[in-house]
Subunit: 432 residues, 2 copies
């Protein structure tokens, strides 16, 4: 269990479990200070970190190059190496991201719903930080900055555990974070990076409910599932999405065409892309050929149910039961005809992943029913599901999308990293 | 593992794990129907259950007498036997409780915060049920009705696991619930009582995250801790409270006296009773003797810090470190003098249980700071902490008080049993 932990400033050899606990204790202490820090100081910290990242970019690139070299030696996939790489453009984006978070409204201390009760007391809610947030992610080193920024702005302390393949990049980035925190007079341990590549560190981290209030895993499904299973700390899950668009027989077909094409082709690798298109069979003859033509022109592979294939002008692949469950994250689309909205809703609630689903219809009653009955974190009417995103929703930056129901659902921004406590005013009131 | 499960109508012998899964599957199915049921039908169900409980009260009392008899044979404590007993008064209270829940506003489908975004889409939130709620409780059979009513009103299906010592009472009560559900045309499995006294049923229940969305344990700390540790399902915890009142040196001493006496003596056995009183040393001479006199007149045992004992007119017991951590739930009070508000806040955040704490002060800046810095689910200014209660807060009935930060904090009413999803309207909008 003894592990050598290389600090940026010193080398220490201590027990790994003890090391993780130490991070936890330090984070808890820092969180108590952070919860009280005024917005101006937090913003000064974010700005200082942005300046440091900008100024230290050569060092960051050198350290990133070490990770890339090691990654090549370890035969990481091209996709992984791409996620790992910090180009000047990506460093610019990190700096810009920090400055955007500065511009967001501070959620902490917001008081709402103050009302007088018959007893004479006045009661409302105050928004407060959660405390300590643990983020566990994979190879992208820019997550280190994005996550640190949102946790800091929301008044939380954070413990960041990045992928082993990005350890040098993360250390270099952390150097800038630490300098920025200290420059602004913020506690050094407001942000901490787990400074070891030992895999068992994650297990220890998940076992610290007294020091960490919430775990947010970011990465592939298997990582997230493993963490959810092992964690003694509540997890806000950011799963991928098997998202649907349903074209109702009362749809305006021009809108339906635009939305279907946008939902599939705007970006293929994102969790809010359409993976299955459902079409009411009454309008399939009118709209399917047009959709097919547009998608084939963009090299999207189509997999249809039997009925879809009958209408199709092309030799469409037969969709199997598996296709309805699949999130392709690729230029592939499953298409199914349904008898009516009920069937569409049943399909979505059965095969979907509770992420984002839309109906295209001009019928008010159906729109209302679809909104009620589809059990997803975002449900849309006559809009492209590509809008499911923190920026588009007005949350500012987002730390991910929750497909769970507890605490926060859908895109998670600063508010999702806070909680509300009750506040009560009296004037010497006592309870009868 | 084979267990004989006595249904009220039939006897079946099946595997326990399988039985619990069956309850889960049935609950999940019922929850999908429940989420769509209109308020009128849910209220009809609640009213029908109220009528049945009233009409079946003789049967309920007979079955309850069996439990009481068994409890006496098993040498349950008097307190436990008292909790177990269903008198006519308690049955009346169950019926009245159901009727009160009928009168509460239905939280499901509530739409809020609809706003237009620069893209042209309109986005807001819709309140929806959580799905399936598992309640695990101890001997009080009236919890069966209270919990069932709140889950039903909030559009959730529920699985209720009461104490083994109340099994006959719970079966009898469930009979009325089932009749009421069917009379109103609600799904039979919208409410289910775990119909076995096998202890391992709880373990199986906690291991059904695919069928149960949230677990709410009600009972003693050890039960709650055990459930939190074992559960694969998120838990909303309802712990007890080590609550404080701090009398600031800027307090109006008349208000302080009234609040301190009310907070301690209104009821001793409740989680929102004051357990430690903190007094700024500048005003201790003026107020402590009066408080002491009033509390001693009510036979409250006082345990003071050294300084408190010096001012005390009586031979006060010396408080130990343990006292600051203790929730007495009894006519005992610990008293400590502090130098200033900072010390009071540090004491509360260190020794407290994050339940409810109050300051008595006329100083605006201190009041604001106390509200911000005290990390409890309810923080009060110049009001008795006895107000910490769902009815007093305007939530209607409460299912308990959460001292956690995620999802819901403080008294948990109907809203705490729901979640919000995003809803989006467009008019054919696509994302650029």
């Amino acid at each position: 269990m003894g592990a050598v932990l290389q600090d940026t400033s010193e080398s220490v050899s201590i027990d790994l479990k003890q090391y993780m606990e130490q991070l936890g204790v330090q984070a808890r202490q820092a969180s108590q200070i952070m919860a009280q820090i005024d917005p101006r100081t937090k913003n000064a910290g974010l700005s200082a970190i942005a300046c440091r990242i900008d100024a230290n970019r050569e060092v960051i690139k050198v350290e990133n190059a070490r990770d890339l070299q090691q990654g090549q030696a370890d035969r990481l996939s091209d996709a992984m190496l791409d996620r790992l790489e910090l180009t000047d453009g990506r460093i610019d984006a990190m700096v810009e991201g920090l400055r955007q978070v500065v511009g967001l409204a501070d959620p902490v201390g917001e008081i709402s719903d103050m009302k007088f009760r018959p007893s004479g007391i006045q009661i409302g809610k105050m928004r407060v930080p959660l405390g300590v947030i643990g983020i566990i992610y994979e190879s992208r080193p820019n997550v280190t900055i994005d996550a640190a920024a949102l946790c800091l702005k929301s008044g939380n302390a954070s413990i960041l555990r990045g992928g082993k393949e990005a350890i040098h990049s993360n250390r270099a980035i952390y150097q800038s974070i630490e300098e920025g925190l200290l420059e602004a007079g913020l506690p050094k341990h407001a942000v901490q990076v787990v400074n070891t590549t030992e895999r068992t560190a994650v297990g220890h981290m998940l076992n610290l409910p007294e020091f960490i209030d919430i775990i947010i895993p970011r990465g592939g499904k298997s990582l997230i599932e493993r963490i959810s299973n092992d964690s003694k700390i509540p997890v806000i899950k950011h799963l991928d999405g098997n998202c649907h668009v349903y074209i109702d027989d009362k749809a305006n077909l021009d809108k339906a065409l635009k939305i279907a094409i946008n939902a599939k082709t705007r970006r293929y690798g994102v969790c809010n892309a359409m993976e299955t298109l459902l079409i009411a069979e009454q309008v399939a003859d009118s709209i399917l050929p047009e959709i097919e033509k547009a998608l084939l022109a963009k090299q999207v592979e189509l997999r249809g149910c039997e009925q879809t294939r009958k209408i199709s002008n092309n030799e469409m692949i037969q969709a199997t039961e598996d296709d309805w469950y699949t999130e392709y994250i690729a230029p592939i689309l499953a298409i199914k005809l349904v008898e009516n909205m009920d069937q569409a809703i049943d399909h979505i609630n059965h095969y979907g992943s509770r992420h984002t689903d839309a109906i295209v219809t001009e019928d008010l009653t159906r729109a209302r029913e679809f909104l009620r009955r589809v059990d997803s974190s975002s449900v849309m009417v006559n809009a492209s599901i590509a809008f499911a995103d923190g920026f588009e929703y007005g949350l500012g930056a987002e730390i991910g999308i929750s497909t769970d129901k507890l605490h926060v659902r859908g895109p998670v921004g600063l508010e999702g990293l806070t909680s509300q406590k009750y506040i009560v005013f009296g004037d010497g009131h006592i309870r009868a």
